[in-house]
């Protein structure tokens, strides 16, 4: 789950040791500020352009937390008519709007009782490497 911590391999360095070992702090880890609840965090990939207006482009990796309760304006993942969707959560008085870029992307739920939130999208990963840079181990950046 927290891959980066796994990868910080235990490499025994021999020889000179820093004299200020007592001041040593663990190095920064991106998961400290991205993943709050690893036991309830899941990953999906965006497979459409329905949310480009929200800066969620196709192939972005979605970091989803199931333990969060959706509030108006947040981005949610839900299952609807056989597919998982990513949309903006906009409850109205008697209906639930799940908004996308355009009207056609927006899904309207009449019976809110039956609608179930699968999780709240906390953040997305947007890989910026150019194709020619995706070589060797860099081929793994957001590759899924």
């Amino acid at each position: 789950m927290l891959r980066i911590k796994k990868q910080a391999a235990k490499r025994d360095v021999l020889g000179f040791r820093l004299p200020m070992l007592t001041h040593e702090e663990p190095t920064l880890d991106i998961t400290d500020i991205t993943i709050v609840d690893p036991d309830n965090t899941y990953y999906m990939r965006m497979g459409s352009e329905a949310m480009t207006g929200y800066h969620i482009l196709e192939n972005h990796v979605l970091v989803i937390d199931r333990s969060l309760t959706p509030v108006t304006g947040c981005i949610v993942v839900f299952f609807h008519e056989g597919d998982f969707f990513v949309r903006e959560y906009c409850p109205d008085k008697d209906r639930l709007f799940l908004k996308g870029n355009t009207q056609t992307d927006t899904i309207i739920i009449e019976d809110q009782e039956k609608w179930e939130c699968w999780g709240v999208v906390m953040l997305t990963l947007n890989p910026l490497l150019q194709p020619q840079q995706r070589k060797g181990r860099y081929g793994r950046v957001c590759a899924c």
């Binding site: 796994k6 990868q7 391999a9 609840d37 036991d39 309830n40 899941y42 990953y43 999906m44 990939r45 965006m46 497979g47 459409s48 329905a50 990796v61 979605l62 199931r66 333990s67 993942v77 299952f79 056989g82 597919d83 998982f84 969707f85 990513v86 179930e116 699968w118 590759a143 899924c144």
Partner: protein, 419 residues
Amino acid sequence: MDVFAHVDINNCYVSCETLFNPALKGKVVVVLSNNDGCVIARSNEAKALGIKMADAEFIVRQQLKENNAVIFSSNYALYADMSARMMNNLARYTYMLMVYSIDEAFLALGNISGMDLEQHVAMISRNVMRDTGLSITVGVGPTMALAKLANKASKKMKRNYLVLDTANKVNQIVKDFPIEDVWGIGRQYYEKLKELDVITAGDFRALKPDLVRQLMTVQGWRLHQELWGKPCNVIKDVADRSKGIESSQSFNTYQTELEKIEEAAAMHAATVALKLRQQQSMALALTIYLRTNKHNVSHDQHYPSITVKVPFATNSTQQLTAICVQALRAIYQPGYNYLKTGVRATGIIPAGEIQFNLFDTYDNSRQQALSGLMDDINARYGRGILRVAAEGYNKTWKMKQDFLSKQYTTNWNDIIVAK
């Protein structure tokens, strides 16, 4: 009063599949065992059809087809990950958690006389179900046996949880609770008790403790005490270092060639070695066995097995696979249709307690470093990327998994694509 909770995941494997494919809700769903042999998990709809646990797949095949059932092979990568997530979630509500199986755990809730137990349990149930997406049943009682009984009773009442915190509530449930459903009452004891007209847990409680001890040894006596609300079982703080570690699997088709069987056995030895390293232990002995299909009466049967003492305790992949392959050559005989091979490590000791062989010139630390490096590389690039050559490349003997779902939580290539 200290109380315990027993939590289990309802239809665990089916629930895991449904979480990542909600379209399965309300459908007849079954999960098959290794090699797609028999049914090991059923949705409520499948249970309603009368499909039983451990029904052979070929027997219920027609019935499943007629009911448009959705069938899955066991996706253990997914189930194990979801189980770990569940256990980590449960651990937040207790100071002591005992994982009892892949889908069950006991929680010590301590002495919580200061708060409304019923409400507290309802909160745990609600939060865990929301966070994990798996539905659970919680049974709460003054002892582990009563907690487990409360869980079962709650399922029968179609409730999410049941709290037995007073003698009155316990009496009410116990008096109609069938004795055969009580934790620890196997078939033999059930027959014995039936002769004494013991039909319910209440009848059992009414027996004299001495009689129970005579009839069912100290185990039965403990159960008797527990049903009276006197704790005898304790939640063990640390899991016992397992006495043996085994890896085994049936082949998808009969194997007659030594070479293929060697590959499989080497893979099992590598798995055992990895497990040993994960729990920081070493093994002193290795058992390798072969099995033919005992159900196929037209085949000659051969169940050889060999236990080899390892020269010095080890958990190195290279060593264990080498020993395994050697040992296998000693027991293998051509001409039999082998169906299964397995490797079991015994004599397990903590890695710190190795006794070195005086005449041993072998450098164990190098083997350790190599195995550790293999683990790191495999953790990074995927299990089995780097392996000893004996494990082979084209795993033609690999188990049958025709209906495998994706590894939604353990493989980046398998994560769900949303619209």
